[in-house]
């Protein structure tokens, strides 16, 4: 079995506060090849009823800085992989807004999968705007496994 340390569960950490510019959104949209005018053209966004350009839904992953935080200590030699994510949006992410991101480990558990014993770490990331209003919540699942069986 893969043993995971449960003591990190529930401890919230600050990931940071991030201003989002129209250029940030444009750069991200261009990288993923999503050239929706709502992401690139403020006039198009306003015509659709938004105050400014909005970000593609998965832009919120950029705000959590890419890293799986808070870290859960792993035994040496184990491999980990992002297994999925659930995102709930209360609002769009806008250019010109500033977002505060916090994260915590919500769950850790062990199970046996097709490739053998697995550890699962679930993190919950909350994104709020400068008024403190919740904009999005991400629940990300990280799988921890032996690297011997290649996938």
């Amino acid at each position: 079995m893969i043993k995971l340390d449960p003591t990190q569960i529930g401890k919230e950490i600050a990931i940071g506060t991030f201003p989002v510019s129209a250029e940030d959104i444009r750069a991200f949209a261009e990288v993923i090849g999503d050239l929706n005018p709502l992401y690139l053209d403020a006039d198009a966004a306003r015509a659709a009823g938004y105050p400014n350009v909005i970000a593609p839904p998965t832009f919120c992953l950029r705000l959590r800085s890419g890293h799986m935080q808070p870290e859960v200590p792993l035994e040496p030699g184990l491999a980990s992989l992002h297994a999925g994510q659930d995102i709930e949006f209360a609002d769009e992410i806008y250019a010109g807004q500033t977002y505060t991101v916090t994260a915590k480990v919500a769950e850790v558990y062990e199970k046996t999968g097709r490739s053998g014993p697995l550890g699962i770490i679930v993190r919950e990331v909350e994104i709020k705007d400068r008024e403190g209003k919740r904009v999005a919540v991400l629940r990300e699942r990280q799988i921890v496994r032996s690297p011997e069986k290649k996938i």
Binding site: A27, F28, V31, I32, G33, D34, N36, P37, L38, A44, A47, A48, G49, P56, P57, T58, L61, R62, S65, G66, H67, A79, S80, L81, H82, A83, G84, Q85, D86, I87, E88, F89, E92, R141, R145, S146, P147, E148, K149, K150, I151
Partner: protein, 142 residues
């Protein structure tokens, strides 16, 4: 210009979304890793690092493929907001391999007066493996 909004009355359970084909190249993966702040996860582009991490080869980040699905939804449901996007990464996607994406409308509801649709989502590789399965919820914003 945005396309014409898709009206709630024009949506039926069973409607197909897509299909769309996307090819995540190594260059795209590198640029995504930079943009998403995961450039230090070398197994996305370094074969040796990938093997050490239990992978046969460098893979495409799951959130990049999830982003393709989100794009498909936004292009299909003009005038709607994505309220929930749930994705499970079942099989790693390979660099340069086409991914076929599609979805199906599974439910239409009225949530507190707001027209809402629910969808199933799939991203599949050329070998018929499901890379991502997921669901989405969108609400009408007009």
């Amino acid at each position: 210009m945005q396309a014409t909004p898709k009206l709630f009355s024009d949506i039926e359970i069973g409607d197909e979304i897509g299909p769309v084909t996307r090819v995540p190249t190594t260059e795209m993966v590198k640029r995504y890793a930079e943009a998403a702040g995961i450039r230090d996860l070398h197994f996305f582009f370094d074969p040796e690092q990938a093997r050490q991490n239990g992978l046969e080869r460098p893979i495409v980040p799951g959130p990049l493929t999830a982003g393709f699905l989100a794009q498909m939804l936004k292009d299909h449901f003009v005038g709607w907001q994505v309220r929930a996007l749930q994705t499970t990464f079942r099989t790693p996607a390979r660099h340069g391999e086409p991914l076929h994406l599609w979805g199906t409308v599974t439910e239409k509801t009225d949530q507190d007066g707001v027209p809402t649709v629910h969808c199933d989502l799939v991203a599949e590789n050329e070998r018929g493996d499901r890379v991502i399965v997921g669901t989405a919820t969108l609400s009408w914003r007009g």
